[in-house]
Subunit: 343 residues, 2 copies
């Protein structure tokens, strides 16, 4: 990877930090020649969220904080808030982060769907499952549609890698880090990455259960967190939209769209599309963590191969179903029910 990525990481930290200072660490200094970022030290007891999820720790403000972060960073860098002039200038600048976009295209949208020396999975248990992914025409058709959105749709400044290791937490602090993959892409790529990784955490719990803790209650907490994250995001995002409905965002001019009935129609359609994008991208991110090059510690920490494979297979089944049938889901409750059914 090029050292230029530090430039885009610093740029995104600053941009997102202005929009959501509570959940983005402050950048004090950036030196482009040295690719050096001086930023807030996230002091103990901050830990990586993924580690907390593996340890079975409940974070009471997580859904609140993450929905806040996603709402503010995505809404305010989109044409719901920005003028075309601001938007095109920012899009052009982040086009420079092409190496990192290419990496995502490869590891998320390509490698899992073909024979690649980079792919790995819990073998021999998942050999047939990995093969099934590579031979599934419907899955490939769907992943192509999402890839096209990833490459072509400049909807908002996305973090670009918003999994649970890009979030540091304490019981009452939530800080999003590492936006080196940031670019103008589809909002659903961020929300999906985050929700998809929560679903992975959910399916890994059976592998983390021991005599002292069967993780039943914790699994319910994760499902509740998934549900609350989307529900709160929906609420906050549409509220922010309402608040700025007379603003200078290019997408919906007040003179055209400010009648209550039409506003409702417009918002419902926007949020429905975003929900389906979220499920699609979330599924894509899950699949690549099971049969692609980079895996997640949630599963990797399960030492027994057969137990890990069983957890991964259930996650993979849910992901394939979500990718193919995402348009049939009306709300997050339906998704949570579907996850529960497989577990």
């Amino acid at each position: 990877m090029t050292k230029e990525r530090a430039y885009f990481e610093a740029l995104a930290l600053k941009e997102h930090g202005q929009l959501c200072p509570d959940h983005v660490p402050e950048v004090y200094h950036f030196d482009r020649t040295m690719s050096l970022i001086g930023m807030r030290y996230l002091e103990p007891p901050h830990i990586i969220l993924r580690i907390g999820l593996i340890a079975g720790i409940e974070y009471p403000f997580l859904a609140e904080h993450m929905s806040e972060y996603m709402t503010k960073t995505l809404f305010c860098t989109s044409l719901l808030y920005r003028t075309t002039t601001e938007h095109k200038r920012a899009v052009a600048e982040f086009c420079g982060n092409v190496e990192l976009c290419r990496l995502t295209e490869q590891v998320v949208f390509s490698d899992p769907y073909k024979v690649s020396k980079f792919n790995r999975w819990t073998s021999p248990y998942l050999d047939r499952d990995a093969e099934a992914v590579r031979e599934d025409n419907t899955l490939k058709l769907e992943i192509a549609e999402l890839k096209s959105k990833f490459c072509e749709r400049t909807q908002a400044l996305v973090h670009g890698d918003l999994h649970t290791s890009s979030v540091m937490v304490t019981l009452d602090s939530t800080q999003v880090i590492d936006p080196e993959f940031a670019f103008y892409g589809p909002m659903g790529f961020d929300i999906g990455a985050y929700v998809g990784n929560l679903i992975l955490a959910f399916f890994a719990q059976d592998g983390q259960a021991d005599e002292g803790n069967d993780r039943t209650a914790y699994k319910e907490w994760i499902l509740r967190t998934i549900e609350e994250t989307w529900t709160l995001f929906y609420k906050k995002f549409t509220a922010l939209w309402h608040q700025h409905k007379d603003g200078s965002g290019e997408a919906y001019h007040p003179e055209i769209y400010n009648n209550p009935e039409l506003q409702k129609l417009v918002q419902e359609k926007y949020m429905e599309d975003l929900f389906h994008d979220t499920l699609g991208f979330g599924a894509a991110k899950m699949i690549r963590r099971i049969v692609g090059v980079v895996h997640v510690e949630d599963f990797e920490s399960i030492k027994d191969d057969s137990k890990r494979a069983a957890c991964e297979r259930r996650a993979l089944e849910v992901a394939k179903m979500l990718l193919k049938e995402r348009r049939n889901f009306q709300d997050i409750t339906g998704v949570v029910s579907a996850i529960r059914k497989v577990s």
Copy 2:
């Protein structure tokens, strides 16, 4: 408008000219300081296509040539042909043409749907029709979706203003000029602009009919040209795709997509989406020419207000129907039938 637009016009002429030299005039010299383009003189008997359509002249190679132009310029500047690195570099450059994009956003996607001092129409005949456009929530929902694609989808380097006055013709030559609005946008915006303007030309014929020529045969020629343009475009575009299926285009890697059944599925889906985009953008371009700021000579040349209004109303009805129901059309034959039904 800024003089910078000449830079993007020259850039697009050169880019499209390399891809399709037969239908794009050669640029000999560009001087950025002077905003001066030295380019091929399109000698007589070249005339503006719109003038030829008003005069009732049949152009036997028009569908062949325009489908060729759109195929080559759109396919070869998309991710079906280009790598991500090439694509993002070009997208970033054309983000600079923001003033012209803003103008399109205003006159195509905004003004016709609100009270605007720039709007005009054949009054009083179309007063109620113009009002109906401004009060139609379904129409506004659809136009919002298209506007979002226009602003956010960097699918290919589009001409950006491909109406029938941007084409110069003789009986055997077809030259596309004036790409000052060029940017990375949805392919359907170009194809739709062109087809939409042919539909306008069709509906204007009743106003151009006189005792010597009732234009019945010419109307049929226009419909045949519309049908052939899309049919040939479909054929050539998918053929070019097939020819480059092992190339370095980022969208569909050969290792994933090169099985005949999947290729068929992928192409059908891509072309269906493109067809629906084409109908939607075409309809949007028609509407704005009837109730927006800039009208077309096809209708303007009809001196009798009531006769002109009758022609415009039929065109407007078809446009509204296409915008709302475009997803129900399976092929161009169905569209042509629907047009014929209204005429």
